[in-house]
Symmetry: C2
């Protein structure tokens, strides 16, 4: 099987679905119940800004690996990308990270203003649930599976999941570095939204307990390894810039894994996590080839 071609196929399906759910509207103030033009445009600006579509690709790939109907998973995949995108729009706002650029383009609030960017984020979050609920009703023979899938996404995106991680990330700027705090932030800010698509796929496909356990483990390991690798890449970037190797991410004043445990130990932790991620897929057998390759491609970023 050709991994790259398969990845592009999944990305194509995700972007087609987004385009179908959220086409550009033309009326400022639509009498027919459509989305106001400016609101729609600002949501699309960030949602269609490129990106690797990691979360929806994981959802579609896991659904196929479990023998589920890909068609039923398209809207949940797009909804998950909407939730990821809203979190980026709000993270970039003044009062949060206050960033001017995202993926090389001006951030949402730099283009549309702070007020409209808040609404674009709120709009994407609410729209994700609106469409998850409508998609559930569209498959009455699998209604409970879809409601469980939406619930798995909501729990991991919410106040005990991603939002909890963002809250502690904001607070951490004023706190002493601490491994348990950093582990908490990584687990919730990053790993939860990578586990969500795997669990949602398992619910949609009606998977058994072994598959749930395998995918939960896979998601947690990938999420943490992914974040440690991001920190390592930052350190390598900083070291190259500053002409020396250092474990302190002093320029940003942010807690990172290498700054807490050192670069070598961080690299070793990440390596162990990737091994565990790949091993966790064994109950799924051959069908998990794409997810296995996904993990292998990601691990080589820093190894």
């Amino acid at each position: 099987m050709d991994y790259e071609r398969e990845y592009r196929r999944y990305v194509g399906l995700v972007e087609e679905t987004i385009e179908r759910l959220l086409p550009q509207t033309q009326e400022a103030c639509p009498a027919d119940g459509g989305i106001p033009k400016l609101l729609c445009e600002s949501m699309r600006y960030s949602l269609l800004a490129g990106g690797k579509r990691v979360r929806p690709v994981l959802l579609l790939a896991a659904c196929e690996a479990l023998g589920g109907a890909l068609e039923e998973a398209l809207v949940p995949a797009a909804a998950l990308e909407m939730i990821h995108t809203y979190s980026l729009i709000h993270d970039d706002l003044p009062g949060m990270d206050d960033d001017d650029l995202r993926r090389g383009r001006p951030t949402n609030h730099k283009v549309y203003g702070v007020g409209q960017a808040i609404l674009a984020g709120d709009g994407l979050l609410n729209f994700a649930y609106e469409r998850l609920l409508q998609n559930a009703l569209a498959y009455p023979q699998n209604l409970a599976g879809h409601v469980h899938a939406a619930e798995a996404i909501a729990t991991r995106a919410g106040v005990t999941g991603m939002i909890a991680g963002q809250c502690l990330d904001l607070l951490a700027e004023r706190m002493e570095p601490d491994e348990s705090l950093l582990r908490y932030i990584h687990a919730h800010k990053t790993a939860d939204l990578l586990t969500a698509p795997l669990l949602a796929a398992a619910h949609i496909a009606g998977a058994g307990e072994a598959a749930f356990a395998a995918l939960t483990e896979f998601g947690a390991c990938v999420g943490l390894a992914f974040q440690i690798d991001d920190d390592l890449l930052d350190v390598q970037g900083d070291a190259a810039l500053m002409g020396k190797q250092t474990g302190m991410d002093a320029q940003r004043g942010k807690m990172t894994w290498p700054s807490l445990v050192g670069v070598e130990e961080a690299r070793a932790s990440s390596s162990r996590l990737w091994d565990r991620a790949i091993a966790s897929l064994s109950p799924l057998g051959e069908r998990a080839w794409f997810l296995t390759e996904f993990a292998q491609k990601l691990r080589v970023r820093t190894h």
Copy 2:
């Protein structure tokens, strides 16, 4: 029947349910999957700030009027109040209305900072759907009814509903006054979230078509009349302050109904809408006594 006692009973049920769903947590960084203390506190700060609980009371009252199980409606009622509260937190932010006070207390961002207030709002919105989905799964014999109810709430809270109204309200500050624009803002920013509880109740109670039509009409009329009356009260307040009666809400530079059509015509419109709201309930008969009284109590504010 005693309207005031019944209203207090509904408010008590809503506040008990909120307390059950969102008790204060104590750990900054809870290992057991709870909500971080600060996030929980900031959500509760705005959610438990008093208020008339109009939307959840409408949901519970409509559910009882239609013979539905009150117990099944408690979480949807609380979820709707969470959605209303998130919209107030975000509306008060700098970049939106930039308000320092709400119901006589400092706004959320004045107490917790802008970043945490954004997260408190996001958290309440996401938590509402998390709990709506879990509540749906708790009543498997009425799963489709609950999913339809959640969908009715999501649609009216979202980018073709309340958020659309907020978007145009922000834009309107820079536009010429126009009746169709003002009607759009009122219909979406206010009326949609008053229609949502009525439709959600109808879905939970498994109501027939006549009841749906009656409650849709009731919600639309109450929502618009409510907003016109608010504008009238503002004008009366301004007129008292300025020692003269005027239809222009010049101090705030905001479009209002009286400033567009004049105070007398605004009062007449509101009166016609209240009549229509009360008449629309006739298909529900005696069981709608609370909703009828609700409309009658509200209309006397300005008449």
